[in-house]
């Protein structure tokens, strides 16, 4: 449809693949790991969910940051068919559900918690051997043998253990940042601040990332979930102040148009 180039293109393609165009991060510190993510799920230009939780639990001591797309074609994998007949689910959700199930059995057989390496390996096997799946995952956990560990499993299913890992569309803007800001042996607070800052920077630049910043800290003492509302984050270069909603007009005592 021809549009005047001065007009905005309001055509929304609601059949575009849902993408967790995303920013996900995993960082080790002296004593554990910090996982972080944004909360935006988009369908083309529309934000389908502005408060998603992309950090999923696999076991008591191992969590995974998920990124990737939700596949509309059921034929793409028999896994989707088996478990999610009738509604859409992200490939990454399916993979993490399977792995949670395997890890649960493994924990019972072993008689103790699974290690983060085992969790990462199980994810890797599913991801590598089913290349039609679109998942970019960061596994992070703490166990008594290895301490805090981060494993990156990008598209294709490579498994690589790293001191820190970044993923999702927003990560493109963070490579240089981490080159400069990452250091070995940070404290828990330093690591969490680094993660929040990084996600916040990515949200500022990446249209497919946004919403709030969620973090999960895992160490010998257990797991802590934190939440940082989007409008409370530091403003970066040329970022505008958050605007009040136009809906406030309806509730104000003397509504004057255009005077917010």
């Amino acid at each position: 449809m021809k549009t005047n180039k001065n007009q905005m293109d309001l055509e929304m393609n609601l059949n575009a693949p849902h993408s967790m165009g995303t920013t996900i991060i995993g960082v080790t510190y002296n004593g554990g790991v910090v996982l972080g993510a944004d909360s935006r799920t988009s369908t083309g230009m529309y934000v389908a969910n502005r408060a998603s939780d992309k950090i999923t639990q696999l076991t008591d001591n191992v969590y995974v940051c998920r990124s990737g797309s939700i596949n509309l074609s059921f034929a793409s994998t028999h896994l989707t068919l088996l478990f999610y007949l009738g509604f859409l689910a992200a490939d990454s959700q399916i993979v993490s559900d399977y792995v949670r199930y395997f890890l649960h059995q493994h924990t019972i057989q072993l008689g103790q918690s699974a290690t983060s390496k085992v969790a990462a390996n199980l994810i890797r096997l599913l991801s590598y051997n089913n290349k039609m799946l679109e998942t970019g995952l960061i596994v992070g956990g703490w166990d008594k043998y290895e301490g805090g560990k981060i494993y990156a499993i990008p598209l294709g299913g490579t498994l690589i253990e790293q001191p820190f890992a970044i993923g999702g569309s927003g990560s493109s803007y963070l490579y240089g940042f981490f080159d400069q800001a990452w250091k070995e042996g940070m404290t828990k607070d330093e690591a969490e601040q680094l993660v929040v800052k990084a996600v916040s920077l990515a949200i500022a630049r990446d249209g497919a990332s946004g919403g709030v910043v969620r973090t999960v800290i895992i160490n010998s003492e257990g797991v802590t979930r934190n939440f940082y509302p989007g409008d409370k984050l530091q403003l970066w270069h040329e970022e505008l102040e958050p605007q009040n909603s136009l809906l406030d007009l309806l509730n104000s005592s003397n509504p004057e148009p255009m005077n917010i």
């Binding site: 493994h106 057989q109 072993l110 008689g111 290690t115 390496k117 085992v118 990462a120 390996n121 199980l122 890797r124 096997l125 043998y145 498994l159």
Partner: protein, 221 residues
Amino acid sequence: MSSIGTGYDLSVTTFSPDGRVFQIEYASKAVDNSGTVIGIKCKDGIVMAVAGLAADGRQIVARAKSEATSYQSVYGEPIPVKELAERLASYVHLCTLYWWLRPFGCGVILGGYDRDGPQLYMVEPSGISYRYFGAAVGKGKQAAKTEIEKLKLSEMTCREGVIEVAKIIYKLHDEAKDKAFELEMSWVCDESKQQHQKVPDDLLEEAKAAARIALEEMDAD
């Protein structure tokens, strides 16, 4: 407690009236008639082996290797000793469930060193598996167990353990009844870098010498 289960011992899928499966007990007899094998868990490692029908033993070892490799492929880490013992025990037990399979005629002493330290397990033909500080199978197992119980294993290193085990084997060997024997020992310990290997020749000779001396001292009494 040796009795013939006339009529109830023809198949491993038959219980006797007093609740015994005679075929499994006969399988254990196959183990008892073979040479003695001892395993002990010392402070820093395991010293051990297989006794019974050698061909059966080889089958079990092959299965153990296969289980260990498959575990490593799926979970990305070496198989914990406990897990391997349980899998072997299940496999041995499996062969006591069907009439077309006979039970394994061998007992396995399994020693390993995983991230929780050295551990010793024994798997019997019935499929029972327990963790042990010291275990013995074969002809002289009763006497061997008595001797092992005298040892203070938690304070012993593997080097010392090798000597003690040699002494026990030599002591058990009856000059009159048994034929000449060959002593073989292997270990998994810190000294062998947590790898399974045959006990080094010099230590083995030292052990044999010490054992012979101990025997002479005993005879001299």
